[in-house]
Amino acid sequence: MITKTFLKETKELLREGRVRITVIIVLMLLGVAVWISARQYQNVNAQYAMAKTAERAIWDNQGEKNPHSAAHYGTYAFKPKYPLSLVDQGVDKYAGTSIFLEAHKRNEAQFSAAADQTGLARFGDLTPDFILLFIIPLLIILLGYNSFTKEREMGTLTLLKSQGISSWKWLMGKWIALFFPIFIITALMFLVAGIVLNNLNDFGVFRWDSLLMMFVVYLGYYIIFINIVLLISSVTKKSGISLVVSLSIWILACLAAPKAASNIAESKHPYPTRQEFAANVLKDKKQGLDGHNPWSKEAKLLETQVLQEYGVDSLHQLPFNFDGYRMQKGEEHEAEVYFKHYNYLKEQFTQQSKVYRGLAAISPYLPTRFLSMALAHTDYATHWDFADAAEAYRINAQKFLNDNFAENSSYGEWSYRADAETWKELPAFDYDPPKLESILDQNASNMGILGVWLVASFGILLFTTKTV
Amino acid sequence: MIITDNLTKKYGAHTALDHLNLNVNAGEIYCLLGANGAGKTTTINLLLGFIEPTSGSAFINQLNVKDDAKATKRFLAYIPENLMLYPNLTAVENLDYFSGIAGKTLSKSDLKAFLEEAGLQAEAFQNRIATFSKGMRQKVGIAIALAKEAKVLLLDEPTSGLDPKASNEFGLLLQQLRSKGVATLMATHDLFRAKEVGSHIGIMKDGQLKQQFVAEDISLSELEQAYLNTMDYKELAS
């Protein structure tokens, strides 16, 4: 019974011209999208490798210099592109790619690709995620909207009923017939992506299990759509109405909900403007120790403390250069200020994420989008992780430089020059993205929401088709 | 009024209509009999200009349908087998709309008069068509023909699916139109109704007009015999 219905539905689909043409078009688009993304990925990574080595060379070859001058001269942390960005570009286009690491200041990642493009970039790109998230659900609607309504319209429903069919098996047959082509297309795309990634050089981060997990997420997303489309087809009387209702759901879930969510999230939990943020940071910085200002109240306080601690009565008698020590203390205060303000941003981001999860109740697109980006290391959380790693590196680098200054010179010796070889001793910045396990851990709620969608849509579908 | 001159329609190798010659004058009702696929509906489609003839010509009121399709439609009214009107509009509104787009502006009372003449009961005038039976819809169709002052009426299986009473009423309506000088061509399976209302009867098979009769000259049983003979049901007939 299930196989009979499956075979009949598949034959019907195969014999329809519109289905064949659409499937071919979708496959072609996928091919082009994968090709473009692979090229772009290679390009960006080549540039990344070049920039990283060049920057390190610039840092290493500064020559003799006061360590604090080197601290002001700073260095850069570049964000690499991860292999699964081939499947999902996520927010990469909108997040900066390089962070300037200098003394006294935590800088934001700069130079997002979108800022360097025309307004057209805001329409979106022809990338695999666009097709996976938008076009394939549309394909599901196209293949399945009349699955039940056509039986009504052709009058075959009464004939089938008179044959004493079990509506559950009938439904399963239709369900599998719709799932099968979608499964094939998706599996094909992921397989090709996996093979392409496996054969591209110069990264060790690609893991088949991440790709497989992504595949599972997308299959879940499609199953939800299949359930919804079949559900609508089984409760509507006419194919036309079924089509219009299914499309409205698509528009709502994939286009309207994310945008509305972004507006609500922003108005409820806004970010400060860049200038506001800078002003707030400056205000807090002024409250504490400024490493460059030996005359401030805080500097004097520190001075007495240190003199007391070491039991000496002049800064010259300290076993280290107090200028360097004060620099480091100032740096620590500033790092704290930044920590506080960036934590506020993160707090806003967490609140915004909650809004998105809340609206996932009306849109299975949202949890899928977030999961997919997270698995691809192209989500906002990974960007935060990268920025935090860069900041940790910056703090360490500042300590390294200030300690060098403090230990190798005496108080007031601003003319001190560190050896040209000193800079190489600073370890290079290295960043490892979160592992699959921790990503899944962090995105448990998104997985949960997707699971609820899956179970609920199956349940309602089974429940309603009982009475068809 | 209705003339076809060696009218022929081919679909590839298949000949749907083969050199048909017909002449229906004013005040005549010509009934075309024949099995499914005999070419009756093709004839009507050609007369309406919905399809183009492969060869030969069709004339309505001396106008060639192929050249003046739009002009010929001023003179003709057509009632398809399953007459569908706008379900969300009332009988009066449907009549107003269809005669309106055909270029006839009518007052409310005129519209009602035509519906009455077509035999629709007055209570139904302001009801939406969605609630109408096929017989009632056909009466609105006749009213459209009346309002248009059509000289030619083309009917495709008008009585199929009607109960005998409605079928009989429809026959009477056709007689009224006939007395006004309307030329009617009616494609039908219904031998009885053809004999009842027709002035002339033709039997078609495989796109050809096989036999023609004047209705008064032939009895119903003779007509049935002739029909079966034409259909090659000889053993049954004898």
């Binding site: 519109r18 473009i36 540039q47 070049m50 920039a51 920057e55 001269y73 850069y76 927010v91 286009k93 909108y94 900066g96 390089s98 700069q110 130079f111 997002s112 979108a114 800022a115 360097d116 493009q117 025309t118 307004g119 057209l120 329409f123 790109d125 022809l126 666009f130 549309l138 196209l142 194919s239 036309g240 945008k259 507006n263 999230a265 922003e266 806004p270 970010y271 403007t273 200038q275 460059h292 200002n293 941003l345 915004q352 | 919905f50 010929t72 003709l76 398809p80 569908m84 009107l85 509009l89 509104e93 107003d96 709309y97 269809f98 309106g100 787009i101 055909a102 270029g103 169709g141 083309l154």
Partner: protein, 476 residues
Amino acid sequence: MLSYNFKYELKLLLRSRWIQLLSVVLLLLFGFSAFNGMEKVEKRKNDIIAAKLEVEENDKLMLQLLDSVERGLAVSVPRWTIPSNPMAVGNYHPRVAAMEPQPMAFIATGQADLFTHYVKPTVSGDDFALNFTEMTSPVQLLFGSFDLAFVIIYLLPLLIIAFSYNVLSAEKESGSLRLLAAQPIGIQNWVLQKLGLRFFWLAILVITVLTVVLVVLGINPFSEVAIYSGLLGLVLAYMLFWFAVAFLVNLWVGSSAKNAVAMLGLWVVFVLLVPSVLNQLGNTLYPMPSRSLMINEMRSMKAEVTEKQDEILDNFLRDHPEYAINDTTQQRGFYHRYMASQKLVKEEMAPLISSYEEQLRNQQNWIGKFKWLSPAIIAQESLNKMAGTATEDYEGFRKQVVGFAGKWREHLMPFLYNNQDFSQADYDALPRFTYQNETELQFGGLGILLALSLVLFATGIFGYKKLSGAGILDQA
């Protein structure tokens, strides 16, 4: 025929509840999106006001400090922030260079969520390192904003598709088409009238609902009659294009299901695919030079320049004798060397920086050449321009700010090199920034949309005759 179609089309639309449904849907969509737009504009205005207020207060403090210094009193701020030093004024008391929203900014977010609306350029900063991007969650940038432009460009066509995909096919499927075709009328003419009337009623609804929504939200749309009528004209032209598509699809495609699929396919092509493919091609043909490599270049240049600071300063002063003329002390400090070096770096980097601008311009031109392929691009561009949130607007702002940063620097340079103190009397002469909206209202987009629609309608009217009746009447 037109008067009868007119009379009965409205009746049919009212009785099938289309008009009521559309009114509610439009009211919700326009209401929500316009509200969002307004909120953003409000925030933008407030941010700028707050920033200006902060500067005003800072200026008061600065003048107080100057007053104390001039009267020879001791001040309790770090030495290098005392505003009698011109570099302190230039770095710690920058002006706000703000881009105030245009009156119709709420209709399209455009690039407004990506870029900042005010910056405070300082004397010692790098112009090309001025960060013009706004601090936004990239998730929001990815999802975009539910603004009026989104409703008009993405959703309105879908409403039109739902409203018009089966004008002819429904008649065919219900059987009334044969009766219609038996009337002395041309079918394409009839379809044209039906669609024309639906366009007419939808247009009335759109104009009414939009105007009502704006008035309720407290915007007087008639205060900017030219832009508002431009907006309405553009929306109507965009709608007309989709009705023209509906006209062709109705005449040629056939059954309702096929029509719906065909129109939807066209929607995907025009609204989603063509823009992204054009963008991708633009990026491939005119790739942006790598920003990471730009950083490398800038770094090595700075390193080089630092080594030769003294030489650079000497050269600089030789080229600018006017700077040292009134200076009797001839003192040369950090800033003297630094500013001279900065100037050199800026000049050396200029070709690289301009290569970004040039590529952006190339991409823009490329899109300009092919934008007629997608009415969605034309509509989006035009709406962004009306709102003053287009890429060009932000480019203009950037240029004006860089210009202003130069002015700011040049204003303070003579103080520096003449070793002249900045005084209270000099305060009023400090340069100020006012944003000039450079894009004029253009109706080119409107013209292209109308031309596209006309071509489609003409194809329907003249092309259909040859195929007279093909398909649609074969089988009832």
